[in-house]
């Protein structure tokens, strides 16, 4: 009896130890990622877990409630916790994390997985800090003009190719009793930076913006004064939502619904809305028969397609991760063209700035596929400008969006606005806080 009891205890202990060893082994190869607790977050994260090919690595996605996942992650990383794979708003934010030693140097993995040939060169450069790679760019973004195609066809309006044509179109739209464009920015104060980014690059020109971002030209240059003055004039003139007070206070959904219903003719929005317009605001789901399409915002210097480039977020590996190799393997899968195409089609997440060949987006909406095709063509011709959220240093960028509304509200002159931006930029430039600016 005693012997049996001892044997039983030994077997039990052995089982326990085996279980513990197994658990430890499983834990050792687990890579954690945090995702937003919303439809999109749930979609891409489950797709990642389902499609990740390696069985020796467990991908664990933790869906986090709340809207400000980036700040939550930053606090966790600072405390030595947080997920193995982390993300932030873009290069300027990743630069801060890398400078604080919270991100792993990815150079060795870039060589191992040949990321240099997979990414658009400018996109990979965005993740470099002092020549070393610390983050990978995700969600290729630009701002375009969506238009209510049905209304345009009914009214016989043409797509504008120059700024003058755009002004003439705006007059025609108003004469027809419609508002020129949405959206409104009552829910997102920083989002007013879209228009500033577009006007600086499309109006003053990308070369001048490049020079300013590399410290060769001041932001007080007359080309920038002219660009911001024209922007101020159209905003005060009620191009957005019909009036300045609605521009400041109305919601995105309200503006998009009016656009879908044909009460607003165009929508000055990001490519992140490509999926949403079809899904929520046009056609059967929205209870209308309207169609939408898009065109690139005109410029003052070319009639060719021109886009500002940016990324929605950047991904890196926490320097505290116990599994850097496994985390790099997960990143490698995430940044494969196949996974990006799947994520784009199934979850509506804009694809990362990779080099796509063949019919990768064959199953996507043709308008969406056309965008990425034409974006690639414009990019190869150098017809690209800069988004403030990807290329401006943090404090200068806050100045850019926080103070432009004072310009619109006539509390601040255009000259003082740009002088303030120059002042902030000079300090951050001196401190080495400018994200990598792709050479032209």
């Amino acid at each position: 009896m005693m012997f049996k009891m001892r044997l039983f205890t030994i077997v039990l202990l052995g089982l326990l130890l085996a279980l513990m060893a197994g658990a430890t082994a499983a834990q050792d190869s687990t890579v954690t990622i945090w995702a937003g607790d919303d439809d999109t977050g749930a979609c891409w994260s489950s797709l990642l877990v389902d499609t990740f090919p390696r069985e020796d690595i467990t991908v664990e996605v933790v869906l986090q409630p709340g809207t400000n996942l980036v700040d939550t992650q930053r606090t966790a990383l600072q405390g030595g916790a947080g997920p193995d794979i982390t993300f932030s708003h873009g290069p300027a934010f990743m630069l801060e994390l890398a400078s604080a030693g919270l991100l792993l140097n990815l150079d060795v993995y870039a060589d191992e997985y040949n990321w240099g040939e997979r990414f658009a060169p400018w996109a990979l450069d965005l993740g470099r800090v002092e020549g070393s790679l610390y983050s990978l760019s995700e969600e290729l973004e630009t701002v375009i003009m969506y238009y209510n195609k049905t209304v345009f066809e009914e009214q016989g309006w043409e797509i504008p190719k120059t700024m003058d044509e755009l002004y003439a179109l705006a007059d025609a739209i108003r004469e027809a009793g419609l508002d020129v464009m949405g959206p409104a920015f009552g829910e997102c104060a920083p989002c007013v930076e879209w228009a500033v980014s577009v006007f600086l690059s499309h109006h003053a020109g990308p070369d001048k913006v490049y020079e300013a971002l590399t410290g060769q030209r001041p932001w007080t240059d007359e080309a920038f004064v002219a660009a911001i003055t024209d922007l101020k004039d159209i905003v005060r003139d009620g191009w957005f939502m019909g009036s300045l007070d609605l521009f400041f206070s109305d919601t995105f959904d309200s503006a998009h619904a009016l656009f879908g219903a044909g009460e607003i003719a165009m929508s000055f929005e990001g490519t992140w809305m490509l999926d949403n317009y079809q899904r929520d605001f046009f056609g059967e789901p929205a209870g209308n028969d309207n169609e939408w399409d898009w065109f690139s915002f005109p410029t003052t210097f070319t009639e060719d397609q021109f886009f500002i480039i940016g990324v929605g977020s950047s991904w890196g590996i926490s320097s505290a991760t116990p599994n850097p190799d496994e985390a790099a393997a997960v990143l490698d899968h995430y940044y494969s063209t196949g996974f990006q195409a799947q994520m784009f089609e199934q979850c509506g997440v804009a694809p990362a700035p990779l080099i796509y060949e063949g019919d990768v987006f064959a199953n996507s909406d043709p308008r969406e596929a056309r965008l990425y095709e034409e974006f690639g063509q414009a990019s190869s011709k150098g017809n690209v400008g800069y988004t403030s959220w990807s290329f401006w240093p943090a404090r200068t960028n806050v100045w850019l969006w926080e103070q432009i509304v004072r310009v619109y509200d006539d509390q601040l002159s255009v000259e003082d606005y740009l002088a303030g931006m120059q002042s902030e930029f000079e300090e951050e430039f001196a401190d080495g806080l400018i994200p990598p600016i792709p050479a032209r």
Partner: protein, 318 residues
Amino acid sequence: MAGKSSTRSEGQFAVGSDVPGKRKGRRREYWTRYRIMRYVLVPWLFLIPILALHAFVVVFPAAQGVFYSFTDWRGIGEAEYIGLRNFEEMIFEDQSYHDALWRNIQWMLFFVTVPFAFALFGSSLLAKVRRGAMFYRTALFMPFILPSIVTATIWRYLYNPRFGLPTLVGYEKALLGQSDTALWSIAFADNWHFWGFLMVLFLTAMQGIPPVLYDAAKVDGANRWQEFWHVTLPGIRPVVLFMLMMVMIWAFLVFDYIFILTGGGPAGATEVLGIDIYKNAFQRFEAGYAAAQGISISIFAGLIVTAFAFLRKRGWEI
């Protein structure tokens, strides 16, 4: 009882021991130890968990906040000591801080008047209501327990110039979209959620006023206003003054309604200290400076409490 017990003890010593003084001393020593255990150590043993928790979640972070306010910390990485530089910038250079502080003061002036007037008026009326009293009280208190995101979203729609309340009076501008109306519009929405709470507190305090005082006032020929001014208000004065102090402190902490409804806009018109601190800490990466701004709020709160403590010493019923 004590005397009886003492006598019995002495008798026992007299019979059972040849050294009663020594035993008495030991017994006193035992009682002293027992008292120390019971009245000094045991209470502290019970307090230790909560004190440790308090130290961990309040004292330690607060001390860290004070420490970081003297540094150039960016929210991540190392912090470098820069002395009083953050405070100098805040007091002498930062116009955004001054503007935000002024908006907090405006907010405070609004909240020490409008909700108090609403609550005093409402509670005076409800104090007389007997039928359905609980229904009215619950209905008016309900907004206070709603999450601010819910209340703020409701008011965003109520303020919509296309289909909201302004259309009822033919007003077609967005109240939240204009610099001169946005702050007051948010304050009104916040007041809608808050004044019911004040009213319930005042109503509770009014229950404690002896009815005989109202009878005496009636005998003296007092009208409703005189009753309120000479009986009700003095009767609930401690509660009113205490809530005044709290509301003044809370006015410096306002964040949620403004963050949800305008994010500090339009054009910075609703940017209060809470919003400015948030932007500095999380968007400009100036966490050290944001900590200094946070310390300034604590100082304002300290000044308010000190002022009320001073008034209390001067004989005010607070």
